[in-house]
């Protein structure tokens, strides 16, 4: 077996397109993933994220474009010649081999000496050294997941790909594994590329998240960036929830934009405006709203004349649906910390929020 060359550096995808018979899964995608980072490709199913991952792994060939790590072009390199390992969604552990042999598989194929020490070490890292003589079928889902990770990490690849690795685990275990994965990534310092449709998972773990939709990257940035300043309606709704109110720009006042939304004047910082024209979609996250009884003191932007149409208690917070005079229903989350007034269905309310939490998108955007 040939030892893959010591390839190091940033992963660069340039103008990658992957077309199947009747549709384009990935459409002219360009992306640089810095060495050592934890990068997430986030999107709904069918958005092209898994196809992108498979092209990086070498399991699919791009129709056009180039994939390289550092200075090495790997676009058409066979999977077994790439310094890339994958943690498969189904784990794909070899059922006929013991846990030890599963983890040792890649090392043995490359003719690495001292397989024992390397395997023991990585099994220690995932805290499953005591199960090394078992078969995969005798392990729980969470344990199999860790073995799949160990089997990939032990090879010290330039790049580790994770294909929805936590998808099959229950919520509690998933949370725990999110923290562990992040810790292991820091520990080994390998570039992780993580594909997921779970926005919480992507935001918890990744340094940088790329939100994909229809084969293209909608927006790329840090989790906080994407959440606080979404650039498209898709991103605003895929990461958390958003309320959008149609409006128009009236004037600018120093560093602020003054806009009219449904007859109410509001302001927000210029830096929060992504619209090119004067027509706006004004976005406010549900948890940024505050609820007041009509006539209470308020500050920031204010929308009056709301009426509670639905209340649901979710534990940490309570979710309200507020019907506005223009018949739009807005979603409001209030922390259950005693700060919000006691409200029942049908109560009139006033909404307020701080201007800096506003984000404005182009009025025509969908």
């Amino acid at each position: 077996m040939s030892e893959p060359k010591k390839v190091q550096g940033d992963l660069v995808l340039s103008h990658i397109t992957k077309s199947f018979a009747d549709f384009t899964a990935v459409d002219d995608l360009s992306l640089t993933i810095p060495k050592g980072s934890f990068f997430a490709l986030l999107g709904p199913s069918g958005c092209g994220k898994t196809t992108t991952l498979r092209m990086i792994a070498g399991l699919e060939e791009p129709t056009s474009g180039k994939i390289s790590i550092g200075d090495t072009d790997i676009t058409y390199t066979k999977p077994y010649d790439r310094p890339v390992n994958t943690v498969f969604q189904s784990y794909a552990l070899f059922p006929h081999l013991t846990i030890f042999e599963n983890v040792a598989f890649g090392l043995r194929r490359r003719g690495i000496k001292d397989v024992d020490a390397a395997v023991e070490k990585v099994l220690g890292l995932v805290e499953l050294a005591h199960l090394k003589n078992r078969k995969p079928g005798q392990l729980s889902g969470g344990q199999q997941q860790r073995i799949a990770l160990a089997r990939a990490v032990v090879n010290r690849p330039a790049l580790l790909l994770l294909d929805e690795p936590l998808g099959a685990l229950d919520l509690k275990l998933r949370r725990q594994m999110q923290i562990e994965l992040k810790w292991i990534q820091t520990e080994v310092g390998i570039t992780f590329v993580h594909v997921t449709h779970d926005q919480e998972e992507a935001m918890t773990m990744a340094d940088t998240v790329a939100v994909m939709n229809n084969g293209k990257i909608e927006q790329l940035g840090s989790p906080a960036d994407l959440y606080e300043s979404p650039k498209t309606v898709f991103v605003a709704n895929f990461l958390g929830q958003s309320n959008f109110i149609d409006g128009v720009v009236e004037s600018t006042d120093g560093s602020n934009v003054v806009a009219n939304i449904q007859g109410t004047r509001i302001t927000f910082p210029k830096s929060r405006n992504n619209a090119s024209g004067s027509a706006l979609k004004v976005g406010i996250r549900p948890e940024k709203f505050r609820l007041h009884d009509p006539g209470d003191n308020t500050h920031g932007n204010v929308l009056a004349g709301g009426k509670i149409t639905d209340i649901s208690f979710t534990g940490v917070s309570t979710q309200y649906l507020v019907e506005m005079p223009w018949k739009q229903e807005l979603v409001v989350f209030e922390q259950n910390d005693g700060g919000a007034p006691d409200l029942v269905k049908g109560d009139p309310v006033t909404l307020s929020w701080e201007p800096q939490f506003t984000f404005a998108l182009d009025g025509a955007s969908k």
Binding site: M1, T86, P95, H96, Q138, N155
Partner: protein, 298 residues
């Protein structure tokens, strides 16, 4: 090794008792069937195997004398056919494996939309009787048949050469007749392999050949073991192929048993030979399964 995460639920005792009783009721017809059509004839056969000819010397009349030397006599007199049976069956099994594995592999991984069609083609011979198909081969390979005349025409065979009545045609017939029994289990085990395991192997630096050796082949072993057993066992007891495609020099132990039973009417020898054949196959199979270690798989 204990499978830690599979623990039986603590079922209440009463329903368990009831369900056990119910299970026996459901099993009863099958057990009865086994008793009448397997256990009883077997005992009968065992009883016959130690009989000797009646003092009256009337054909077909035997008396029980518990003569266990019958077994040794039967073996010594028919050693040649005994060995030949196992050699032919072994060769046919190996040939069938060599043909069936690539076929099953292609069907499982490469056939795409043709998969079901090919599967039907493998099963199709069963629509005609075993006997008819073997007779058809006798025609095809016979002196007047297309194979011999073609080979003679292009000069690869002497004008008086034959294919039938040789060991080759008997082994070929066995291979042909038991090929589906080899193909289907191998196909089933290959088809069950999760394609992602092969991808994972490639991802872990194994090229195509290594992936086959380290992942595909070990995972298909249960099918290979089942297929070889389903071929070897009936092939070693077969007599139709030797009778139709061979000559007396190619006769197998099945032919001897057949003629002892129906032509010579020597029931004790036929019964002894049957038992010896069963015992030998049983021993061979047990050793084979132990060595193959299929219980370790999956």
């Amino acid at each position: 090794m204990a499978i830690a995460h599979v623990s039986a639920p603590d079922a209440p005792i009463a329903p368990e008792k009831k369900s056990k009783k119910f299970a026996y009721i459901l099993l009863a017809p099958g057990l009865l069937w086994l008793l009448i059509f397997f256990a009883f004839p077997l005992i009968n056969l065992a009883e016959t195997s130690t009989k000797t000819p009646a003092p009256t010397f009337e054909t077909g009349e035997f008396v029980q004398t518990f003569r266990f030397m019958n077994f040794l006599d039967a073996f010594v007199d028919n050693q040649e056919q005994f060995y030949r049976s196992f050699i032919y069956a072994l060769l046919a099994t190996l040939l069938a494996l060599a043909i069936a594995y690539p076929l099953a592999y292609a069907m499982a991984f490469r056939a795409g939309a043709w998969k079901n069609f090919l599967l039907i083609m493998v099963i199709a011979p069963f629509f005609t009787s075993f006997l008819l198909r073997t007779l058809a081969w006798k025609q095809i390979l016979g002196a007047e048949g297309p194979v011999v005349s073609t080979l003679q025409f292009i000069g690869l065979m002497s004008p008086d050469g034959t294919i039938t009545a040789t060991a080759f045609s008997v082994i070929m017939g066995l291979t042909y007749n038991f090929l589906p029994f080899m193909t289907l289990p191998i196909y089933a085990s290959l088809d069950r392999i999760d394609y992602r395991l092969l991808e994972a192997s490639g991802d872990l630096y194994a090229n195509g050949a290594t992936t086959f050796r380290r992942v595909t082949l070990p995972l298909s072993m249960p099918g290979v073991v089942a297929g070889t057993l389903l071929t070897f066992i009936p092939a070693s007891g077969d007599y139709i192929n030797a009778q139709l495609l061979g000559n007396p020099d190619n006769y197998m132990i099945g032919n001897v048993i057949n003629s002892r039973f129906f032509r010579v009417v020597d029931y004790p020898t036929a019964a002894s030979l049957s038992f010896l054949l069963m015992a030998t196959i049983l021993i061979v199979v047990v050793i084979y399964i132990r060595r193959a270690g299929t219980d370790e798989l999956v």
